[in-house]
Each structure stands twice: as C-alpha cells, then as structure tokens.
Amino acid sequence: MSEAMLRLDAVDKFYGPIDEGVHAVRAVSMTVEKGEIIALLGSSGCGKTSTLRMVAGFEAVSRGRIHLAGREVQSLAPVRRNVAMAFEGYSLYPTVSVRDNIAFALKAARLAEAEVARRVGAVAEMLEITDILDRFPHSISGGQQQRASLARALIRKADLHLLDEPMGQLEPQLRTLLRGRIKHFIKERGLTAILVTHDQTEANALADRIAVMEGGVLQQYASPAEIKERPANLFTGTFVGEPPMNVFPASVAEAGGRLHIDLQGGLDLVYDLADFAAPVRERMLAARDVVIGVRPHAVRRAATGAPATVVANQWLGDQSHIAARFAGGAIVLVEHDRAALAEGAPITVAIRPEDLHLFDAATGQAISHGQALAG
C-alpha cells in the first residue's frame, strides 16, 4: 500500500476559541512517507511545537484532519496513536534513574529484561550517556537530560517519532557527531521521524525533506537542495542559506532590445533578452515590481558590472565575507580566498542571469529561478 505514514489535511490550531484565539498553525497540509526524516524548520514561535503536539495528541486539532498509518487519529487519545516523542522541555520522570526513564516504555511493552538492557545500552552508547545511566534527572546537565529524553523516544518502536529540538542544548562538536549517528540509527531501523529545529545546518544534514514554517503557515516543503535552489517565496529564500540571500526591490522593463532591472539608487542591471527564456521574460515584465535575490556565493567581483563600496571584509578562516554598499542597501559576497579589500574600497560586482531569483514584490511568491519559471 502506498498510503503515506502521516498526512495532515488543512490543519488549524487556535489556542483559545476557534477564530478568536491565537492562530498558531494555519491550514497546514503535508504528507510524510514511511522511512522519511522530515525537518520542521522555522524561527521561534512559528508553530512547530504546536504542529507536533497535535500529531502526538497533546493539543486538540482546531480544524482539519490527521491520518497516521492509515487511521484518522485527530480524536484518538495519545496512548492509542503509537507515536514516540522527545519533548522540547525533556520531561524526564524525576523520580527514577536515567536508565529507567529510557526503559519505561519497553517495560510497559513487557520486553524481556535482557533485551531491555541490551537496547538501553545500545542507544545510550550512541548518544554518549552510558556513564550517567544510573543518575537521576535533577543531577545531570541540560544537555544530558536532553539526550536522555531523546534516547527515551528513539528506543521505542512506533509508527512515527516526533523529536522537538532534540539537540538544542548540545555543544557544536557533539551535535555534529550525534547528527550522523542519529540519522544512521533512524535509517537503519526504517523509522519515520519528524525533527523540529531552528538550525538549518541540522535540517540540511538530517532531513530528506524540509518543511519551512513561518507565522503558522507552511512556506515550502521540499528537499534541502530544492529549497536552496528554488525557494518558493521571499521568506524561504532569505531564511534558508547562510549568509542569507541578498535581496533588492526592483522594477523590470524592456528597452532598446535589452532587459533592464532597475534597482534603487539609480542602479540598472542590464541583460540581453536572450539571457532569459521567453516565458520567464514575460512573467518578469508582467510583474513589473519585483524583488531580486542573489546568494552571496553567487555574487562575483568582475571587471565590468555594477559599482559597490566595501564596508566590511571578514576572513572567517575558510572564506571571506565581504559586505558592500550597493543599490541603496547592502550586498554580501562570499569568496574562498582572502581578499585584499579595505573599508571604502570601490568594487564592481556582476550577477549572472542564471543566479538571479525573482520574487513578486506584492505577494512575495517566487517568479523565476535563473532560467526556470517558479512553481
């Protein structure tokens, strides 16, 4: 059967009365296939946890439907949904040891003692918490509690694993190490997981697909590469990618057989008509008021191009971040070598047509990515 493991249909969440309270999740629809790892990515307060808690059954669904493993579950009790969850606040049982915290669900499932011990040992080793198994939650650090909570969720066999910011408290090295191990663990067992995070590196490294959320709305749901190359709207474009995409308001016009993209400050980017495919050109001209976007990695210094003035030049050890005044705003370039540019130095930058992302200024929706029409 090709039924998705999880399907959300136009799910709404209001805290308080419907249509009056806080509208935390707005008509979110998405599916998760069996064996997939999904990252729910968004800034704080965008509705990630609310979405997860509706799937788990701790928050009522205000509107819409949730199907899990072929069953409609939005009115089922949490205990009957067969999901495992690692909570944002860890929520370990304070009265028992870390080991018992992790083993609780297995014991409830009446697994043999030896098997429980073996599985707890394995997951503890993976998460580097073997030496604190006999401690109590209040006597270990936040990062250790977080891993214990993650272990408690991962050790279970469930249709769906919900992991709410499972690595937020860990130091960077450990996070990088565990990222790989967790992915391996999940894939090896064929588990299906939704991972909430506000860290795009984590989302990119772990997830098969990323769901970008903002203001309770699902902005884009696609593979990491797709999100990077073809952001569906201005929000995703600027939210995903480090450093963020450069964006400038502009208007598009055709004059003298060439395509003019007029930026603020009298700056004019001129391209051959042939640089853009006909349908793309049509859409650009139809929209008129647009926002252009270009990734910092794609901005080049060139002999000919638009003028800019350097305001900062930082060498980060493996790349240079150069910020420059450009078109009434600022543009950031990333180069892989040290650049001998002092503050105030004039440069000329070139933006290739295939690196241009165009967004509708009114709606924020993407119009085109290089040669390709969006959507």
Partner: protein
Amino acid sequence: MHATPTIERILRGTAIALVCLFFMFPIAWIMLMSIQTNETILRVPPSVVFAPTFENYQALITGKLETAAGTLEINFMRNLWNSLLLSTSSVALGLVLGVPAAYAFARLKFRGSEDIAFTLLSFRFAPPLLVLLPLTIYFQQLGLANTYGGLIWVYQLIVLPLILWIVRGYFEDIPADIEYAYRIAGHGFWATFRRIALPLAGPGIAAAGLLAFIFAWNNFVFALVLASADKQPVTVGALAFVTASGIQYGQVAAGIVLSIAPTFALALYAQRYLVEGLSLGAVKG
C-alpha cells in the same frame, strides 16, 4: 562567611527571644497549670513556686473528677479517642475524595471548573453555625445525628476545601509534559495519575493531610451541635470541667495539654512539609 556585627546579633537574639516568649508563654503556662491544684492556681498573688502534682492527669485518665461537691464522672479519654477517630477518618475520606478532584481541577480545564473550585473553597467562608442549623434538622430526619458517619460527613466541610486547594496547586506545578511522556509510552489516564502524578505531588498531599487533620482536630462547633457526649471530641469534652462548683482550672489545663499534644507533636514532626505545603500550594490559584 563574614562575622555578623555584635549589635546585630544581640538585636536578632532579643527579637527571637521575644517571639518565642510570645508564642510559647501560653503553652508553658498551661503546662505549669496542669500540674497544680486549683488552690495553688488561684492563689493571690500568683507564684511559680508550688509542689507539682499529677492528680489532674490522674483524674482525666481514670475518669473520676473530685470536686468540692463530690465525685464527678467524666469521660475525657473517650473524648480523646473520638477526636482521633473523627479527625483521622475525616482526613482519610477527604483525601480519597479530594485528591482525584484536585487532579481533575488541575488538569482538565472545562467550562465552569474555576467556578466549581471556588464554590468548594467558599464553604470555608460561611460561618459554620449558618450551615449547622438546617443540617441539624436534616440529620435528625436522616438518622445521621449523633453518628460518627454523620460527623465525618460534616467534617468534610473543613477538610475537603483545604485538601482540594493545596493539592491542586501541587498538581499544577507538575509539568503536564511529564505525564504526557508517560501516557504516550502506552499508559492510560489512571495509570499516569497513580504512577506519575501521585508520587510527584506526595509532599503536597502529606502537607494538606496534616493541615486538614489539625483543622479537624480543633473543630468545636460541629460536634457540639451534632453529637451527644459519647461522640464528642476533646474540644467539646473540655466543657465538662466547667462544673456546678466552679471551673476546674487544673483539669482544664491538663485536658488542654493532652488534647494539643497530638497535633503539637504532628506539627513538630512534619514542620517542613507544612511550611512547604502552605507557602507553595496554597498561594497558587
């Protein structure tokens, strides 16, 4: 640690001494009275020099009160036993009813739940006599007047609101996610209540129970109106010492010492719980 200035130490010591004196003096005085005869107590001017005697306690324990007008039968030990029975049973019943109710009020926010909780608390506001008059009539019709069962029932007016409000605060302090984590792992609502919520609220429940016990023990008016001599607790029983030939101060004092001894011991033993229970649970709404 730095040394506290001497003057501050002296002031603090004096303040503590004054407070102790203020609170302990009546208790000490009563204890002294309880080992004197009526004559030495009523002596003018009063003096702390006297020959201690245990005849007051003896009279209470044997139940024979010697007065100028002859020997009087009293049943103080019976009163003491009644107090113990009534308070313990009331608290037990109060816990059985109140703890699940407190959990419901803490966890299941339903329409009107706040109002119901407040109504229950408001039982504590009404003057007991107001409730008692109609109750007396009903109790007589129902055959509950002068029964332990009836008294325990009425005692719930004292015990239940107290337990409900203190324990509710404790339940509200337990993060709901800890319970969710347990439930999602395959446990039902009741299993979660028993295995997670109850143990975590343990100190609060203990505090509420102790406090309720003390309040129940000190109750006077319910038993005075609703029970006859053989069911009455010590608070009412002490009235027997007001006899035709005068007030037996020595025995009253001994009676008081005996009747406050259990709650006093309990309070000392469970001080920590009580303070926690009152400051943590009760102030939360």
